[in-house]
Each structure stands twice: as C-alpha cells, then as structure tokens.
Amino acid sequence: MKDQQSYFEKADFQSDLPKQFLIMFVGIVLVLFEVGLAQWPFFYGASPFLSLIFMYFILIYHDELMPIITVFMMGLIADLLMSDILGGRATSMMLLSYAMRMGILRLQQSEFMDLWLGFAVSCAAVTLFQLIVFSSINLAVPALRPLMFQVGFTLVLFPIGFVMMFSIQRLLQTLKVVR
C-alpha cells in the first residue's frame, strides 16, 4: 500500500534541477571564457578567476542552485584546460563552498565592503591552497608575481562582476513578475 502511494505523489513542479543545470552551464562557459581570456597578451599566464566571482555570488544568494557537483565540474574543467594540478582548483573551490555554506547567513546580511573583503580572503585561500599543493608535489615554488597579478585583478573585477550579476538577477525577477 505504501509503495503504491509513492507512485501517486504530487509531481514536483518546483524542482530546482533545470535551474541548477543552467547555473552549471553558465559556470562552465565562464571557465571556458577564462581560458580564452588568456589569449590576450595582458592576461598571459594569469587570467582572472571569473568563475570564482560567479560561484561566490550564487552561493551567497542562491546556494540551493549550486550543488557541490557544479563546483566540482567547474574546478575540474579549469584544471583540465589550464593543465594545473588536476583536482587542485576543484578541491580548493569545493572546500571554499563548504566553508561558505557554514557562514551563509552572516554573508547574506553583510555590507558590500565586507563581502569584498570576504571574497579577497576566499580568493587568496584558493590560490594559497593550490600553491601549497603545487609546491609540495613538485618540490618547487613557481614565480609569485603572476599569482599576485591574478588575485589582484580578480579583486578589481569583483565589484563589476557583482553589479552585473545583481542587474541580471533584478532583470530576471522583473520578467517573472511581469509574466
């Protein structure tokens, strides 16, 4: 009787799955864009972490739309294409997402400056994790200047990315209300 009931449960029309797929798609496209950006001589050897800005925003305001598998896929594709330590960025991003989920309420109520500061710490932590793993596996320390440029430029781009994503979010909400 109980088994039979499960067949007749209401269909879940409010499923997050399509949205989660969309977010995964956008995240992966951003990673590919990041790889493409390296073709500009200015970003040679250190293209900014656009995918990290995206992940940070989504995790704060729509964490239910970014399951850990999305973070894993974004990190792994970046590792594969930039041929960094396989799994290095994926692990660091997953650990970051885990840490962010623990303090999500505090982040949601924070001012922009605090969010920026939090992002600076997150960005530095992701880079530092990769640097430690790389150095311990290869027994060599890479040049630090490109790393600092990468982190610095990502921090400069953070407000622009944040405003853009807020605008897109507002637009989507307006469209929803109008419909």
Partner: protein, 304 residues
C-alpha cells in the same frame, strides 16, 4: 524534519565528502602520470578544445580589432622600422649565402653528414597559459598528422617547447618557461653546455654551466642537441642577467603572441622516446670537477 529529508541531507553530506576526497586524490593520481589518465585528459581536451575555440572567438575578434587600431596609428613609424630591418636582413641574407656555400664546401671536404632529417608542420595555438602553475598550450594538431610526444615546437624566432600529450586532433605543448621544462643548451659564442629551467615566468634560469663559463649579457643561448630529441642550434633565448652563479635568460619567443607554431617531425630515429617523463628525460649531464664536458673548438675558433 521528516525521515526522507534526513536521508536526503545525509546523502548530500556523503556526496560532499566523497567528491572532495575524489578531487583530493586526483591531485596525486594526476601527478603519477598514468597512461589511462593522460589518455582521458587528452580525450577531454579533444572534446573541449573546439568549444574553447568557439567561446574565445569574440576575445580574438576584440584583440584583432585593437591590434588593427594600433597598427593604423603607428603605420608610418612601423614602415620606417621595417625598411631599416629589411636592409639589415638583406645584408644578413648575403652573409648567410656565403656562409652556406662555405659550409657545404667544408662538409664535402670533411665528409660530414648532416644528421637532421626533420620536416615542419604548422598548427594553430588554441589556448594560452591561463594558470600560474603550468605553462602549456593546446595546439590544433594530433596524431592523425603524424606528430608524437617529444616533437619540438618552434616559431621563426626560436624554441617554444615540446609536445608532451598528443590526442586525436589536439596536442599539448610543454613550454620552455614551464617549471618542469629542462632544455639542454649551450652558449652560442663559447659553446659551454648548460640547462635552462623554466620558472613559470617570463624568463628562464640557466644552470649547470661549468665554472669556466662566462656568459655575457645579450649572449645567444642555443639548443645543444644533447639527448637527440631537440636538434642543435635552435634559439632558446638571450642572457639577460648574470649574478654570480645565477644566469637569467629571456626566451627568444614572445609567448604572449603565439598564434601559430611549427612542429618538427622526425629526425629522432634511434632515440628512445618511450619514456618522456620529465625526470628521466631531461636529467643533466654529471659534472666532474676534473673533467670538461665538451672539448674542441668553440665558435670563435679557440680550443677549450
């Protein structure tokens, strides 16, 4: 909380931990350089490279446009510079023709046979190094065109690196600026051998030079041909800074503008290329205090 919700939360937590563990172990498995993993990586590159090509098309478009604007703005100055360069090159061409003819005569006298039997094939660079931890480039050429791991990659300016992963339609180049790259080289004017080491930066470090070597600022650094994989005489860079034992080399190729590269195929018959792992492939020559590595005449004709 319902029992089914509790199970869902537990499953989610398990998935988190499992994925983090998988990802963490991938870092060490990846370093082990397993053939299966290498194949999987190249398979995914073959799949993703056309997508990157598509996504980065607007970026290339903007770059081309900016380049066009820059070129128009500096057209006159560029024209003057090119004319001067053309005059210089014509002088060099006449000199090269004389030297080539002299070289052929000397070869016929001494009976020397050129060991080089390589052909060139050109490919487009699909990516550029975007990360700070590895300097590699994907090029649009695969084993279908006959390239293999270990083939040297060059431009008209000099050596770019070596192919180290070859897929069906795409291959990955380990650039000489990568921290894992070790290239056997020699100083052009004194012929002293050494080894350039990448630093994941825009310069190389020249190490393992004999104590007698005195590299000069601006001196050309060429591949020595030791090991048989790389042909001798490819430009690697120029000495930029000498500070005691520390010698810094600026690569001959500007890696920031790699559009097309050429791959040298063949010419390594008899050389064992089965194991191209970095550790065993680029091991430097042992240095003994009382022995010189190379003896003979250097480029300036003096015995060393």
């Amino acid at each position: 909380m319902r029992a089914s919700d509790k199970i869902k939360v537990r499953q989610r937590r398990f998935a988190h931990v499992a994925l983090i563990l998988i990802s963490f172990s991938l870092m060490f498995v990846g370093k082990a350089d397993l053939v299966v993993l290498r194949d999987a990586r190249m398979g995914s590159n073959d799949f993703l490279a056309p997508v990157i090509d598509f996504v980065s098309a607007p970026i290339r478009g903007v770059e081309t446009m900016a380049d066009g604007i820059r070129t128009v703005a500096s057209l006159r100055a560029e024209n003057v510079r090119l004319q001067a360069e053309n005059d210089l090159l014509q002088r060099w061409r006449r000199r090269a023709e004389i030297l080539e003819s002299e070289n052929q005569q000397l070869r016929s006298v001494t009976g020397t046979v050129s060991a080089e039997n390589r052909r060139l094939i050109t490919a487009r660079a699909v990516t550029a190094p975007g990360g700070s931890f590895m300097h590699t480039v994907l090029v649009a050429i695969g084993d279908e065109e006959g390239v293999a791991a270990g083939d040297p990659v060059i431009t008209s300016n000099g050596l770019v690196g070596l192919l180290y992963e070859v897929g069906r339609a795409y291959a990955r180049v380990l650039m000489i600026s990568d921290i894992n790259a070790r290239i056997p080289v020699m100083l052009a004017s004194s012929s002293w051998p050494g080894l350039t080491m990448g630093r994941n930066s825009d310069y190389l470090e020249l190490a393992f030079l004999p104590a007698e070597a005195q590299p000069a600022i601006g001196e050309l650094v060429l591949t020595s041909g030791h090991g048989g994989i790389l042909p001798a005489g490819l430009a690697v860079g120029r000495v930029e800074r000498v500070d005691g034992d520390y010698v810094q080399v600026r690569p001959a190729v500007d890696f920031r503008n790699l559009g097309y590269v050429s791959i040298l195929i063949g010419g390594t018959e008899g050389v064992d290329r089965s194991d191209l792992s970095q550790d065993s492939f680029f091991t430097p020559l042992p240095v003994e205090d009382d022995k010189r590595l190379l003896e003979g005449l250097n480029a300036s004709g003096t015995r060393q």
